[in-house]
């Protein structure tokens, strides 16, 4: 079954504060601990694509507006 939603996180826009990871209700986000962006920060990424529900909590709390959220269309 395809996920209900997915997020796109800007690697360079992310500052790795972890607020999105903390507030995700289904814990589908993580910080990339084995990689950094050009600022030397561990960026957030969608680690568990199957569970994302597209609730947009991560994007609402993201201070740097680095997250774009998509949700499965109801009409289709």
């Amino acid at each position: 079954m395809a996920a209900k939603g997915f997020v796109e996180i800007s690697v360079e826009g992310c500052k790795g504060c972890g607020l999105c990871v903390h507030h995700c209700p289904v814990k589908c986000l993580s910080l990339k601990m084995d990689d950094t962006n050009s600022f030397g920060l561990h960026y957030a990424y969608l680690s568990n694509e199957e569970t994302c529900i597209g609730c947009a909590n991560c994007a609402v709390i993201c201070p740097d507006a680095a997250i774009t959220v998509y949700r499965k269309s109801k009409a289709v």
Partner: protein
């Protein structure tokens, strides 16, 4: 974008793509974002003028795609008074931190509230001077350790933290006064509604609208962004209770 999916949330258009200089997890960036979301939703980007303070948010004009004026330290309310009086049809807001609004600019703030100037004040209260290295501010909590109060704030020596929202809500010129926090997605959504309401009241010309935001300062408090949320919830909100302190539109609804 994948097929069968629709856009739910994206960065507001009026928030410029420039990377903000704020520390990771700082609520200043969140506040910039939601103000610009409201401006986008109301379609008032061409009619909005902001006044930025001195402090961490001094470069606010670099990130918002609206007209801006940078004021001398503490004088944002005085500058906004001039702008609003000469351009009464525009939406005018000041964006100030606690060092700017509650310390050096207390007189300007109190008097512009008392005169009932018809603009909006966004007051970001993080209980510390973030920009200059975490010194004690008028809003620093009792017992809180900062670089100039290494043994904790001693209220016998330096007085009690200032509750600005309660203070200005006593003034007759204030139309709307509320204290907000941005520590959870639900509270961010709530804050957005309050900002919208403030701009609506400004449009009706009812008087000063004052929104205090209980903020964090992970760098100044020397903790991680997630730990700073705990400090906000456990300590800040006890001394700075949330809620609407004054609303002149409440009875008419």
């Amino acid at each position: 974008m994948k097929d069968g999916y629709e856009l739910v949330y994206k960065r507001p258009d009026t928030l410029l793509s420039k990377r903000m200089h704020y520390c990771p997890g700082c609520f200043h960036s969140t506040m910039h974002k939601i103000i610009m979301e409201v401006v986008d939703e109301m379609g008032i980007a061409e009619e909005t003028i902001g006044v930025s303070p001195v402090g961490c948010s001094v470069f606010a004009y670099d990130y918002m795609d609206i007209d801006f004026q940078q004021a001398a330290h503490g004088r944002a309310c005085a500058v906004a008074t001039g702008i609003k009086r000469s351009l009464p049809d525009k939406f005018v807001f000041t964006y100030q931190g606690d060092g700017d609004l509650a310390a050096i600019g207390t007189a300007e703030t109190i008097h512009s509230c008392n005169r009932g100037e018809n603009f909006t004040i966004f007051f970001i209260n993080n209980a510390i001077y973030g920009m200059t290295g975490g010194q004690m501010a008028p809003t620093t909590l009792e017992g809180q350790k900062t670089s100039t109060s290494p043994y904790g704030r001693d209220v016998k020596h330096v007085g009690h933290p200032l509750r600005m929202a309660e203070m200005v809500s006593q003034l007759p010129g204030v139309a709307y006064c509320e204290r907000l926090v941005l520590n959870t997605p639900a509270n961010v959504r709530k804050a957005k509604k309050s900002i919208k309401k403030a701009f609506d009241i400004q449009k009706q010309g009812l008087g000063m609208t004052f929104l205090e935001v209980v903020s964090n300062c992970p760098s100044g408090w020397k903790c991680s962004p997630v730990q700073s949320l705990d400090f906000v919830g456990e300590n800040m909100l006890k001394y700075y209770p949330l809620g609407v302190k004054k609303d002149v539109t409440a009875n008419s609804n």
